[in-house]
């Protein structure tokens, strides 16, 4: 009898955590999905209303801007962060004297909140007292960098700050992968007479495909969730020129009492994430089983 109970202990112990996740993640997703098909405004109502919230959502210019911003932001952010991170990792791998210190410097932004990052960059880039004013006061009258208040350019400011924050992380990821590449292969390539550049471009980087994939997935996940950075840096402005879907959702749900549209936009975000994450997680779990 007691033995029976003891046998069930692992399940009993896992149960609370699993139930929490089941309710608070999957239950809530279903709830949000349901609400997105209702007329909910300030308070949730539970009478189904078809796809109306989605039609409304897609007809809003604000959502259009937010969703296309997401693609501009995400693709630039991911590409630039991977290029910079990769470059820094390769350079740091050249027996650099102050490697430890440099690594610390490159990575520290990752420890900071996006709100702080946004505050810092907002201050540096504000046209009246920031870098622009500084360079002009030094006599470089024509210097102009007012992207943060330019409605066509403000989303790129978000990209700059996000790259600043996350590229060090990509560097760390790549550096640890570089360090675990089989040294014998590299020695063999040297003996074959390949140059340093050739070895990196032809052998090492291609062998790091999985790391590129991880970096891509993590960064795109960060990009889709990006919310705080926009809040602190541009406030979504000027106007709503630099909003991202996450900001849109927050605005609709908490400021404008449009719970239905908020829910619909959240579901769109979930669909976007799922399109990237599910194949990735699936292959990761599969690979583990076979490996």
């Amino acid at each position: 009898m007691l033995d029976r109970l003891a046998e069930r202990l692992p399940q009993i112990v896992v149960a609370p955590s699993f139930l929490l996740i089941l309710v608070f993640v999957y239950g809530f997703i279903i709830w949000t999905g349901y609400v997105s098909f209702t007329k909910s405004k300030m308070l949730p109502v539970y009478k189904l209303d078809g796809l109306r919230q989605y039609t409304r959502l897609f007809s809003m210019d604000r959502w259009d801007v937010a969703y296309s911003n997401l693609f501009v932001f995400a693709s630039l952010f991911i590409i630039v962060a991977i290029i910079i991170g990769c470059l820094l990792a390769v350079l740091l791998d050249q027996h650099i004297r102050a490697e430890g210190a440099l690594r610390t410097i490159y990575l520290y932004p990752m420890a900071i909140s996006f709100i702080v990052t946004g505050t810092a960059w907002k201050w540096m880039l504000n046209p009246s007292l920031g870098l622009e004013a500084y360079f002009q006061s030094l006599g470089w009258e024509s210097f102009s960098f007012n992207w943060i208040v330019d409605k066509d350019m403000s989303i790129y400011v978000v990209v700059i700050a996000a790259v600043w924050q996350a590229s060090g992380f990509v560097m760390a990821l790549f550096l640890s992968a570089l360090r675990s590449v089989d040294q014998e292969i590299i020695k063999a390539a040297y003996l074959d007479g390949a140059s340093n550049t050739r070895i990196y471009m032809g052998i090492i980087l291609p062998s790091m495909r999985p790391v590129f994939l991880s970096a891509f997935v993590i960064l795109s996940h960060l990009a889709i969730k990006s919310f705080d950075l926009v809040v602190a840096l541009t406030g979504g402005g000027p106007g709503y020129a630099s909003t991202l879907p996450a900001n849109f959702m927050y605005e609709m749900t908490f400021r404008r009492n449009q719970i239905g549209i908020g829910a619909a936009s959240a579901m769109m975000m979930l669909a976007t994430v799922a399109a990237i994450m599910i194949p990735y997680l699936y292959s990761e779990l599969r690979g583990k089983k076979n490996g």
Binding site: L107, Q183, V273
Partner: protein, 295 residues
Amino acid sequence: MANRDRLPGTDGKGRYIGRFLIYLTLAVFAIWYLAPLYVVVSTSFKDLAEIRGGALLSLPHEFNVSAWHKAWSQACIGVECTGLKPYFINSISMSVPAVLISTFLGSITGYALTKYRFRGANIIFSLMLFGCFIPFQVVILPMAQTLGMLGIANTVNGLILVHVVYGLGFTTLFFRNYYVSIPDDLVKAATIDGAGFFRIYWRIMLPLSPPIIVVTIIWQFTQIWNDFLFGASFTTGGAQPLTVALNNLINTTTGVKHYNIDMAAALIAAAPTLFVYIVAGRYFVRGLTAGSVKG
């Protein structure tokens, strides 16, 4: 690690120019990463007149710590002019329990999932793992309702619950990946020796876990301390965590802008996680890479 430098590389002058370019690039990037920190720190020690003078990149004429004082205990956030202090305390009393609870739950769940592969363990793990990667926007609405129903809306306790729940996936992932590398035979041997589930956990698994406990605690602390979305969605006024208060402070539009106070406030908000990063950077990096290379 490698003795690649002993292998024949490029020769002579080309080599020196190459080395120089490498160091130059690295230095330029170092400046880029450090510039915002430098500007923020130096601004926080300047007085308003000096800031208006526009010399963004110059050092302060004299070190003036009054902005720090004000940010800590006098600055107005909304209508309350209490400084950041109460919010700092909020953040502490939110993060510490949330970190400890989620770490503990993750560790015992990870242990049960790896060392007792009961039917469905893999599915449970996959579901928990995917839970880490949802955009939280999709749970905010029902969470707000639930917190209200539980009577912990707009409280630090409510935020603790939220952070425990949504941190569980990651902490379980960390511990699972760590425990997978501990041989099953250890658990079998202990079972034969007569130890049960909890005794094996307590006497054998936990004593082997300090490295991953440190990694998890640092990861969770950074995540929870830096969170803004949950804080902004579920709290207002006196229950806000530090990040939310900081954002309110900075985006207050009434009155004169005190940039020095803003910057000091930002530094106060960043200080704990930066401190952890500098003290335990090695574990911090390990957490980042562990969180990214999954399975």
